[in-house]
């Protein structure tokens, strides 16, 4: 898809009836193709961490009114998980990247970067 970056600014149209998410693999799509995952800032502790650490990760949320990172899955498209930087007060999307860093590297540098990594 050409012209994806140029359209990010207009991902939320003027009256805000539909969020449009620029999927890194498929291009700009309506958000009805995606499912929301959760707050991407949550980091789960090690399995043997204390109960308090797990309580914090599972139950406590920052609940930001502003720009936050969150996970979405392009369920009715390429099925990839992505990290979306979105303003929760007006639904503006600021950036989108694959959730898996290795895949991001492939997008950045092509298949060679994966081979370099293996070596």
């Amino acid at each position: 898809m050409s012209g994806v970056p140029a359209r990010i600014r207009n991902c939320t149209d003027d009256i805000g009836t539909m969020i449009r998410i620029p999927c890194p693999f498929c291009g700009v799509r309506d958000h009805s193709e995606f499912v929301y995952g959760s707050d991407a800032s949550v980091e789960y502790p090690a399995l043997d961490a204390s109960a308090e650490a797990w309580l914090e990760a599972v139950f406590e949320r920052e609940n930001i009114d502003g720009v936050q990172f969150e996970t979405w899955q392009h369920l009715h498209g390429c099925r990839m998980w992505i990290v979306v930087e979105r303003d929760t007060t007006n639904h503006q999307i600021h950036s989108v990247r694959p959730a898996h860093e290795g895949i991001q590297r492939v997008l950045n540098g092509g298949a060679n970067s994966v081979q370099e990594e293996k070596q």
């Binding site: 805000g16 009836t17 539909m18 969020i19 309506d30 958000h31 009805s32 499912v35 929301y36 959760s38 707050d39 309580l55 914090e56 599972v58 139950f59 406590e60 949320r61 920052e62 609940n63 009114d65 936050q68 969150e70 979405w72 929760t88 007060t89 007006n90 639904h91």
Partner: protein, 422 residues
């Protein structure tokens, strides 16, 4: 302030409607109050009313950043029911329903509470068993509940899609006859008028901008109309709880703000005399007809976090599909308006009415998608908590520590994910 009666309506008819007072005062904020409630929605206003009436605390202010009843009080689908099953919720919502039953008399204000019955359709023998368990639990703990077979349902609600080609054929329904709807604005106005008569100051256009703390005490609130000092503070700002929580420097909460949409159609002649709920597979849909004739309906929350008070089209499409699936006669009806409110979605789908890490701060939050029906009992128990500094046994588990104790009050059994409780 005058009391409303048939006589006052008749008398004002004779004197050209010149005998009516304003319904509540518009006072300037005083320098100090015994109790300040933040948020003049249904829960905040009910709290102020019961603080004054039940506990004799009347140096109370209710602060509202906009106009009273302009948040979720004016954005809900006005459904009232008590068909909850979990311990705690069971007693809480039944108490609320009992308060609703006398609310118009209590407030001397017609809240138009209509006990038109709440009908939850089921579509399989297994769903009937689950409904029977829930409704038997309700009957054993002081509520009403009935199971309707298909013939009874067809007699009472003739327009549903009973056809053999329905995607989910209807088997019957679980019904709470005492449930119903009320006029949402009237509830806000009734509680505001009632609280005002006891001397409560309702201060509109007064946004809290900061929290003044001294150790583990709140000494006052910075507002857009100056500093207001207070001995006790209650937050009742569901949807924006996390914002105020951060102002008080209290960190994180088991709450996410999501938005819930509702829709209303153009007015129709009398069509549906009950509240009907359709929920099977991916569908989640509830519908009733307002007194003006509009079909009021809604479904799931929008799934992603938002403070925007603005809906999105996929859910409108989703509820429209549910509407025509269950009530095909609505196929050509035009949508008049749809809107969204911001809700506190909690980690187990249940609310918080509790003490906080600060000695004189009390929290009323986490109403998920069902705060309207709860508002009388919410005000009742929150006032009791603030006045007596200890929770009533009914709300003992509506505290922030219940997750640490492993005591989730999860009616849906959906797990610790706020978006799944809508």
């Amino acid at each position: 302030m005058s009391r409303y009666s048939a006589w006052s309506v008749f008398w004002n008819g004779l004197i050209g409607q010149k005998g009516w007072d304003r319904v509540w005062r518009d006072p300037e904020p005083k320098a100090e109050y015994d109790v300040v409630i933040v948020g003049a929605g249904l829960h905040g206003l009910a709290t102020a009313y019961y603080l004054a009436k039940n506990h004799g605390v009347n140096k109370v202010a209710v602060l509202e950043k906009g106009w009273l009843g302009g948040g979720n009080a004016g954005r809900n689908t006005t459904i009232i029911r008590s068909n909850y099953m979990m311990p705690g919720n069971r007693q809480f919502y039944e108490h609320s329903l009992k308060l609703w039953e006398n609310l118009s008399h209590e407030l001397n204000f017609n809240v138009m509470f209509s006990q038109r019955a709440h009908i939850s359709l089921f579509h399989s023998p297994n769903a009937r068993d689950a409904a029977a368990r829930r409704y038997n639990t309700m009957r054993l703990t002081g509520s009403d509940g009935e199971l309707w077979d298909l013939d009874t349902l067809k007699r009472n609600v003739p327009h549903l899609n009973y056809g053999p080609n329905a995607r989910f054929p209807i088997f019957g329904a679980a019904v709470q006859p005492r449930a119903g709807t009320a006029r949402h604005d009237a509830v806000a106005w009734g509680y505001a008028r009632g609280a005002d008569r006891y001397g409560v100051d309702i201060i509109q256009n007064c946004e809290v901008t900061g929290v003044e703390r001294s150790g583990s005490q709140i000494t006052g609130l910075q507002t857009s109309r100056g500093l207001i000092r207070c001995k006790k503070v209650g937050f009742a700002v569901a949807g924006n709880t996390s914002r105020l929580w951060r102002m008080a420097e209290l960190g994180r909460l088991p709450i996410e703000s999501h938005k819930l949409q509702a829709c209303i159609s153009e007015p129709l002649k009398p069509l549906l005399d009950q509240v009907v709920v359709f929920g099977v597979g991916g569908a989640h849909f509830y519908i009733s007809q307002s007194d003006k004739g509009g079909m009021v309906f809604g479904g799931d929350i929008d799934w992603y976090k938002s403070y925007a008070q603005r809906g999105n089209l996929p859910i409108v499409q989703d509820v429209a599909e549910c509407a025509t699936s269950i009530l095909p006669c609505l196929g050509r009806v035009r949508l008049l308006r749809h809107w969204a409110g911001v809700t506190d979605m909690s980690m187990d789908g249940s609310a918080f009415i509790c003490k906080t890490p600060l000695d004189n701060l009390f929290l009323n939050a986490g109403w998920n998608y069902g705060g309207f029906k709860a508002s009388p009992a919410s005000g009742w128990f929150f006032a009791d908590l603030i006045a007596n500094d200890r929770p009533d046994p009914v709300i003992a588990n509506y505290d922030l520590q219940r997750f640490a104790r492993g005591w989730n009050i999860d009616e849906r059994g959906a797990g610790p994910d706020p978006k799944l409780h809508g």
